[in-house]
């Protein structure tokens, strides 16, 4: 049973690299993932060898920090299949990346005559920057609806294409439903009709192979802290032609070519968008996280997840009164499982299973419009990553049974 799993992800290594997971069933990686010891060490190293700012100093520490910084940019580019490392901008995270994009590309490209499309499964971070922009500009806003099965409504696609949207904000993987949107099919059609496609990769890049060049997307955003890396660092990838035309929007050190009172000239991409001292140790941590994931292989990461989700859907399916939201086919979903159990409020459910050592999340998961669609205030969500096992699923199921016991006499 766990044999094939063992072949995919080496358990002793996981035990060694995530020692703190011993005794805790961490099922909240969609919120933030755990950091393996090597990544943590790589971050500390920046400080323990002597810290330095990047891109500016002539002494050795600065050279070392800068080299590692720019080397990570190349690593990131390779990891997501970008053709040019200059296309990768370091940001504070996915939210920061998407807001930066709305502030530059959005401000300069969206007018009252344009149509903006958002899906109703977007995370607030890929929703509000665009709805606020559309409101500010008086642009037309279209909501791309989600079917009862928790998938993007493809019947609405003709309507969307006919509207010739200037922008489509689309999550690759839903952080609530686990739905993997068919981006490789959708993007070419959207682009043919003139749309610029912004992919929210926060739940996708950490969990499956990514090739932005093949996808043909225009922009992609993701966060290090959901892929074994640290908080405070993320990436905005964009096609060079687009980035080159975008004005900067965070003004300060390192993003200029020259500053005179009467004339400011901006630096080239990516530096143009990276004003101020960047999160240097964060970048180092992201680089180490990518190394760690590469050492496993993203194919294996994905396979491991499919195995776990398959098992979890089976086991959860056997619980009376348990309903899993989103696609039922494990091949069409990621390691994110939102569910409802006998009408027990997610907060209560998460608290009770928390007492059994299971860390899961309860709430609207920053997707209130989707919750409205589901007719719920929130859901309970379990999400998996490389360190999770079938045993974790078993513990979850046992914990849910206990919750059932506590609430057995409650009339809802």
């Amino acid at each position: 049973m766990t044999l094939s799993e063992t072949r995919l992800i080496d358990k002793p290594t996981i035990k060694k690299d995530f020692p703190f997971l011993d005794g805790t069933i961490f099922l909240d990686s969609a919120a933030t993932s755990q950091m393996p010891v090597p990544v943590c060490e790589s971050m500390s190293e920046h400080y323990r060898l002597g810290a330095s700012n990047v891109h500016r100093g002539v002494y050795d520490w600065s050279v070392r920090a800068t080299d590692k910084f720019e080397c990570t940019r190349r690593k990131v580019a390779a990891f997501i299949g970008a053709q040019d490392e200059r296309e990768c901008i370091f940001t504070g995270g996915t939210t920061d990346a998407l807001n930066l994009l709305a502030q530059t590309w959005g401000e300069t490209n969206i007018t009252a005559h344009d149509t903006v499309v958002v899906t109703s499964m977007e995370h607030h971070s890929n929703l509000l920057p665009w709805t606020q922009l559309a409101e500010r500009k008086g642009a037309n806003l279209i909501w791309w609806e989600v079917t009862d099965e928790g998938e993007l409504d493809l019947d609405q696609l003709p309507e969307i294409l006919a509207a010739q949207p200037k922008l489509v904000a689309l999550t690759w993987v839903s952080n609530v439903l686990g739905t993997i949107n068919p981006v490789e099919k959708l993007i070419p059609q959207l682009k043919e009709h003139g749309a610029t496609v912004v992919l929210d990769g926060a739940q996708a890049v950490p969990h499956m192979p990514c090739d932005v060049t093949k996808l043909g997307a225009d922009f992609l955003a993701f966060s290090a802290h959901k892929m074994l890396g640290p908080t405070g660092i993320g990436v905005l990838w964009g096609r060079a032609e687009l980035l080159e035309e975008m004005p900067p929007c965070r003004f300060g050190g390192s993003m200029i070519l020259s500053v005179r009172r009467d004339r400011v000239r901006w630096a080239e991409i990516p530096h143009k968008f990276e004003g101020g001292t960047p999160n240097i140790s964060g970048v180092h941590g992201l680089g180490a996280a990518i190394d760690y994931l590469n050492s496993i292989g993203m194919d294996k990461v994905r396979k491991h997840e499919v195995e776990l989700v398959t098992y979890a859907m089976e086991q959860l399916g056997q619980l009376d009164g348990l309903k899993v939201f989103g696609p039922q086919d494990p091949a069409r979903r990621s390691g994110v499982i939102s569910f409802e159990f006998r009408g027990i409020h997610p907060h209560d459910l998460a608290t009770i299973i928390g007492r059994e050592g299971v860390c899961a999340r309860a709430g609207h998961h920053c997707c209130q419009p989707l919750m409205k669609n589901l007719g719920r205030q929130g859901t309970t969500r379990a999400s998996f990553y490389i360190y999770n096992t079938r045993e974790d699923v078993d513990v979850l199921v046992g914990a849910l049974k206990k919750a059932g016991e506590v609430f057995k006499d409650v009339i809802l």
Binding site: H345, P346, H347, D348, T351, I352, A362, G363, H364, Q368, M371, Q377, G378, E405, V406, F407, K408, D409, V410, I411, L412
Partner: protein, 149 residues
Amino acid sequence: MVVDLAADDDLYKAIILEHYSRPPHKGPLPEHTHYDEGINPSCGDEIELFIKVDDDVVQEVNFDGVGCSICLASASMLTKLLRGKTVEEAKEFRQAFKDWITVREPEPSPVDLDELEALGGVRNYPVRIKCALLAWETFEGALRKQSVN
């Protein structure tokens, strides 16, 4: 046995689940003098509070909304316990409950907290304190919005 389980539970005491299951004063109160809604932004829970003050006395209080057992049981207890208190007494009572529930190791409260004592278990679950307080903050908000003169 079921009752035992609930009684043994440090958080989900029988009285809490009872209020959650069968709140005596739930639903809008058309002739209220004070109203407010409270939101817990992290879970999306929403509470509405309808208060009828007359002669400086809380004559009626009802709540409505959706939330977890702690949130709704606390709201239901509120509607039961504040009835008949003067506005001043109600405010003091609210403050006493808040003081009592938000400290790790509480002194006995100066006022008799009655059924609310059952909520003491949330101290072991710090994030849930917000749930237990939502209705009470909403009560305060409602009075503040439209101060009783």
